[in-house]
């Protein structure tokens, strides 16, 4: 049952969207029922991170996180456009999820123990294995972070990067001088103008920054990645069915890349005799039913959004970031899908 008090015209009434929790007898997942009743998936994103989620000039959300949301929408509705992007901040992202304001959070959020243990969240999948790195000017003649004893490093205050660097330097018994600057444009200018020897943040952001410089060959991304930042899909605890849907949607995109199924050849693949592909595309078996979804759920995701590699190339490769450990496991990366059967 759903009570919807939307009265256009009056601010108060129109802004009250009261939805009583969906009752069972549906799919067994309160979140899935609520999403279906609403007709749209509400997905929390950052909305200001290039490559992950950033509106383009026409206001359409683009990026890996945005496409991850679209994947889930395509799996649920067969239509990736049935997603509403809620812009969340680092402060309100978890509350928004806990309070049910959003159904899913894909906001370059790092998977940690305390977030699962204390905050009542579950990480359903990792769409980007990131980590803290260092960017230096080639003129500095440094080949490794180990040679950077006594360096000044530009870093944003209060971030996990700041913690990772001080841990790294303490472990390696070296000293560094942090230059803490909050504003992104300012920190980059400080690095370019030589106020600090190195600029440190997530390696994805460093690679993006390097790729957008006219003299990008003057900069070097040091090989050390000093922290683990697995970023991914987050859902609320307590709705295991919804967790399954999100998690296996991600796995389906990875499996599709492993099997070489992409948005262009998916229709010819329908004629494939490979049982794995036939199960993935819903021609055999009851995978969709197990998730309380349409049997064509994975086909819809691959056809309309693409497999994991396509999503990656569209959003991340164009920024000049190498695939690295984010390749599928068959190519030496960490993305690995358990069997879909």
């Amino acid at each position: 049952m759903r009570l919807n008090l939307t009265l256009t015209g009056t601010l108060l009434a129109a802004s009250l969207l009261a939805a009583a929790p969906a009752f069972a007898q549906g799919s067994g997942s309160a979140t899935l029922d609520a999403v279906k009743a609403r007709g749209v998936l509400v997905c929390g994103v950052a909305g200001a991170v290039p490559g992950f989620s950033l509106p383009d000039s026409q206001g359409v959300m683009r990026g890996l996180d945005a496409d991850s949301c679209r994947n889930v929408a395509a799996a649920v509705f067969g239509d990736p456009s049935k997603v509403k992007f809620a812009v969340t901040t680092t402060q309100n992202r978890f509350t928004a999820l806990q309070s049910g304001e959003i159904d899913l959070l894909v906001r370059s959020t790092t998977w940690t123990l305390s977030r699962e243990g204390d905050l009542g969240l579950l990480f359903a999948g990792v769409n980007y294995y990131d980590g803290t790195g260092f960017l230096v000017k080639k003129a500095l003649n440094v080949k490794s972070a180990k040679e950077m004893d006594g360096a000044t490093i530009c870093v944003q205050p209060g971030t996990s990067t700041e913690l990772a660097i001080s841990d790294y330097y303490r472990v390696n018994k070296m000293k560094f001088t942090p230059i803490l600057i909050q504003d992104l444009a300012e920190i980059q200018n400080a690095f370019l103008s030589g106020r600090c020897d190195a600029y440190s943040t997530d390696s994805s952001a460093l690679a993006t920054f390097r790729a957008t410089q006219t003299n990008k060959d003057d900069f070097l991304l040091l090989p050390e990645i000093i922290s683990k930042e697995p970023l991914g899909y987050v859902v609320r605890k307590g709705d295991d069915k919804w967790f399954d849907i999100v998690r296996w949607t991600y796995f389906a995109t990875v499996a599709a890349e492993e099997m070489g199924v992409d948005s262009k050849n998916v229709d010819t693949m329908l004629a494939s005799t490979n049982p794995d592909i036939r199960r993935l595309l819903g021609l055999e078996g009851t995978l969709g039913k197990s998730l309380a979804l349409d049997s064509k759920w994975a086909y819809n995701v691959i056809k309309q959004v693409g497999n994991f590699g396509e999503t990656w190339d569209r959003n991340i490769s164009v920024l000049g970031v190498p695939r690295g450990i984010n390749a599928v496991w068959t190519k030496g990366g960490l993305h690995y899908a358990p069997p879909l059967r």
Partner: protein, 383 residues
């Protein structure tokens, strides 16, 4: 300056020949000599400041006009090629970024094909301000105009009727959000503040007085950001899962409460500045409390506090940008999001300049209008 009296203007007496005053006492040269080159020290200061101003202006024109990139070519795939912008980085402005991003800055994530609706809302808002500013419209009907305009504005924004497609509030953004927050915040906070100010000065209702004091002190003692966080982060946790009150509405209420507390103190200042005799005279005439307040004390008090009121208004207009902390995309936030685009990396000064111009346009209009009102009302008082 006294106006010429009637007999001087009399047509029968020929106008006296006006002698041109000597250039040394009248005209631009004389003015400059009196004000800019009045002694060695003054001349020196004028020259140094003049040099600095011209130097800065020269630098700005060189950066903003001469070396600026106004448009960039498209690549074969249709994407913008910002190489020319990156080459002049630091030497010239990249106005091409504004050309690409201005619609996003103004309208945020509102569906591209529907953005004319937001544009129309902006015009309606400006029209509403313009009508409200004109003293000829200061009648009861003005309230109706406000209600009608706001209904039209929200119909346009939300849609869902009259063949307009429905646009959820999450997708609103840009300048309309700033104007909605500021207009509603101030339009509702002002009456609230008057009531609170009256309540705080009340002698017959100690409970009401206490409540007003607690409200003002509590809200004033908390930063606006903290209130917005309360509204956005804590409040939803108290509601059952699935029950959501619109984020913008929550922020708007926090905003009204905050502005109300500040304005209440301004209004109370005005009430306190009034000579006691005014209220006593009204009492002696046998006026009721509301007659006394609405006709005698309040009009005079508000007239006294126009400068601090407008000061607070302008402050709050700019404070609306704090909603970025809770993920609402106001004009400043959409502009900063536009800066994050990797295509236009490094183009921040240009965008900030545009943002500053828009804010200045609104704030300067407000302050110059208030000066006009003060002059008119002062004229009325001195009559």
């Amino acid at each position: 300056m006294t106006p010429p009296t009637a007999d001087v203007m009399d047509a029968t007496t020929p106008a006296p020949l006006r002698e041109r005053p000597p250039a040394s006492v009248y005209g631009p040269v004389a003015w400059m000599r009196a004000n800019l080159f009045n002694g060695i020290f003054s001349s020196l200061v004028t020259l140094i400041l003049g040099f600095l101003i011209l130097y800065g202006l020269y630098g700005f024109i060189e950066w903003g006009v001469v070396n600026a990139v106004w448009s960039v070519p498209r690549t074969a795939t249709g994407a913008l090629d910002p190489t020319s912008c990156r080459l002049v980085h630091g030497l010239g402005a990249c106005w091409a970024a504004i050309g690409d991003k201005w619609r996003f800055m103004l309208f945020g994530r509102y569906p591209y094909g529907q953005q004319w609706r937001e544009a129309l809302c902006l015009l309606l808002f400006i029209g509403l301000y313009w009508v409200s500013a004109d003293r000829r419209f200061w009648r009861r009907e003005l309230g109706l105009i406000w209600v009608a305009t706001l209904v039209v504005i929200f119909t346009l924004m939300w849609g869902g009727v009259l063949g307009l497609s429905y646009v959820a509030q999450d997708e609103w953004g840009g300048l309309p959000i700033t104007l909605i927050l500021a207009t509603f915040g101030l339009a509702l906070a002002f009456p609230l503040s008057v009531l609170v100010a009256l309540g705080r000065r009340s002698t017959k209702l100690p409970a009401v007085k206490m409540l007003c004091v607690v409200y003002v002190e509590l809200i004033r003692g908390v930063p606006l950001v903290a209130l917005l966080f309360m509204a956005n982060v804590m409040f939803p946790l108290f509601l059952p899962e699935g029950v959501n009150i619109d984020k913008l509405l929550r922020a708007q209420i926090a905003f009204i409460l905050f502005a109300g507390a500040y304005l209440a103190e301004v209004v109370r200042g005005g009430l306190q500045a009034l000579p006691k005799g005014q209220a006593e005279a009204a009492d002696a005439l046998g006026l009721t409390y509301w007659q006394k307040t609405m006709r005698i004390t309040l009009p005079q008090a508000l007239r006294l506090v126009i400068p601090p009121l407008v000061n607070t208004f302008i402050g709050f207009f700019k404070d609306t940008s704090l909603v970025l902390t809770i993920g609402i995309l106001d004009f400043l936030t959409t502009s900063k999001t536009a800066m994050a685009d990797p295509v236009w990396q490094g183009v921040s000064t240009e965008i900030y300049i545009v943002v500053a111009l828009v804010y200045i346009a609104f704030c300067y209009t407000m302050s110059s209008y208030s000066r006009g009102v003060e002059r008119t009302l002062d004229g009325a008082r001195n009559r």
